[in-house]
């Protein structure tokens, strides 16, 4: 039988996935586990109940160094990079020259280190790294780190599990980041993730990745989780998937990500396409990204059209599927601004038929981050 993932890039955990019986698929040029024998539904529910381990080594990791890498990076993102305290991580948007979204990413300032640590999306990493290096040429130096693997441990039991392998890690609160040892391997650990649950993202050198993953998987609370459940978890949490909910045709305002633009940055307007973006902040956009819940159990998938109650097409679903925790379908998409208000009655067009639905505030499942008190 031909292996559909032959010839693709592999993460350091490829053999582990295959050994666990994962179904491997192509994602962003990598052979990745879409699910393990337990299946998407059980993997999803297990992550919300206990803890799930995700291989996200395909994502792009890099360090940005220089005289003032934070100041340099602020040209490409409207986030507050300069004001980020040591030991903290933040979410940011990487902008195009037109003020649309080139990518979304995380950036951290590690304790006592001048360089910033960046994590970008897998499918966009080569383009992002070339873009950042080019735009910041002479002001900062980007060093991609393909020699590092990335694991996410997510769920209410994640802290108790990781504490056994990294003593003291539970003192970290949401969006804090630290260098520490995990299962004997030097790591960069942040208390974050993309499931809406409490949890950690763990960066280790590739050579240590399998040992760290196996140590965590040996814990009774932990189950390996594939891309299928990763997608349903982030969708229930109302989080954007780059290339679907946001891309180079969407801007930060219509994507409802204005919260990621810092107040100081709005005043100073010292980033790419700042005038265009600030015009949208003040004057609004024609459409907006919203959450959608439908009656019944039939999911509306990406690409499904959205209609108002008179049948006029007002938008399109950008992510849609079944939410196992809600035991109901969930979606997000863009609708014209007149229909973007919470609780607006709409129809999703599925197989030519209107499916009654309504605009719904996100997250669909409440976030359970361990915030500082």
């Amino acid at each position: 039988m031909p292996n559909p993932t032959d010839g693709l890039k592999r993460t350091p955990l490829y053999d582990l996935h295959v050994g666990l019986g994962a179904r491997m698929v192509e994602f962003a040029g990598y052979a990745m586990p879409v699910q393990y024998p337990a299946g998407v539904l059980k993997e999803h529910l297990h992550t919300r109940e206990k803890a799930g381990l995700f291989d996200v080594s395909h994502m792009g990791q890099a360090f940005l160094s220089g005289e003032n890498p934070a100041k340099a990076l602020e040209w490409l993102t409207p986030a507050d990079v300069v004001g980020l305290k040591e030991g903290m991580q933040r979410y940011g948007l990487l902008l195009t020259g037109q003020g649309t979204i080139k990518d979304d990413f995380m950036f951290s300032r590690l304790l006592g280190e001048g360089a910033l640590y960046l994590v970008v999306n897998a499918g966009t990493k080569d383009g992002d790294f070339a873009y950042i290096a080019d735009k910041l040429n002479g002001k900062a130096t980007l060093e991609p780190r393909p020699d590092r693997a990335l694991l996410a441990l997510q769920g209410p039991a994640a802290a108790a599990v990781l504490e056994r392998h990294s003593h003291g890690i539970d003192s970290l609160t949401f969006m804090k980041v630290v260098r520490c040892m995990v299962a004997g391997a030097p790591a960069i650990v942040s208390r974050s993730g993309y499931t809406g649950e409490d949890g950690f993202v763990i960066s280790v050198e590739a050579i240590h990745a399998e040992r760290v993953a196996r140590a965590l998987l040996r814990e009774p609370e932990v189950m390996p989780i594939g891309l299928g459940a990763r997608d349903s978890l982030r969708l229930e949490a109302g989080l954007c998937l780059y290339g679907h909910d946001i891309d180079e045709t969407t801007d930060p305002v219509e994507a409802n990500l204005v919260w990621s633009i810092a107040k100081r940055r709005k005043i100073d307007k010292d980033f790419l396409a700042a005038e265009a973006i600030m015009d949208k902040v003040f004057n609004g956009t024609a459409r907006k990204r919203v959450g959608i819940r439908a009656d019944g159990r039939q999911p509306a998938r990406e690409g499904a059209e959205i209609a108002d109650k008179s049948g006029t097409i007002i938008g399109k679903v950008t992510s849609g599927g079944f939410g196992p925790t809600l035991n109901a379908p969930v979606a997000m998409g863009y609708v014209d601004i007149a229909h973007a208000t919470d609780k607006t009655e709409i129809d999703l067009i599925v197989r030519g038929k209107p499916l009654p639905a309504r605009v719904t505030a996100m997250p669909f499942v409440p976030h359970r981050y361990r915030r500082a008190i």
């Binding site: 299946g39 999803h44 019944g296 159990r297 999911p299 196992p324």
Partner: protein, 124 residues
């Protein structure tokens, strides 16, 4: 005797007299993963061989179920509409989709036997 035949779209059809019971194969159920929604045809509807008859959606994907043979729908399995996860439990038994009164029993000969289907799946 009952004869079970298969299609390359992974439906099975079990014939008793002039009534065909139709469902999706174990292979299809495993490929789809956890089924969360099923839509079945209403009784009385006439469907031609290869026509769209039902919809099955899993957490991951949506899929059409086609009528392997022509006929008139006589029943649909409401149990899998109420509890779609049953499709994964017993796809080739209790979790049948719908029944058809055959309009042409000769169409059955065009479908795969169990051996043919097993070979077909192995080659996928």
């Amino acid at each position: 005797m009952t004869d079970v035949r298969y299609t390359d779209q992974h439906e099975w059809v079990r014939v008793e007299g002039d009534v065909a019971t139709i469902g999706i194969t174990k292979y299809a159920a495993e490929k789809l993963g956890d089924v969360v929604f099923v839509e079945l045809p209403e009784a009385g509807r006439k469907i031609g061989a290869g026509g769209e008859a039902a919809v099955v959606e899993s957490v991951k994907a949506a899929s059409d179920v086609y009528a392997p043979v022509s006929g008139e729908v006589t029943a649909s399995n409401e149990a899998i509409v109420a509890n779609p996860e049953k499709v994964n439990d017993d796809p080739e038994g209790d979790s049948w989709f719908f029944k058809l009164k055959l309009s042409d029993t000769g169409e059955l000969a065009k479908l795969m036997t169990a051996d043919d289907y097993a070979k077909f799946v192995q080659g996928l």
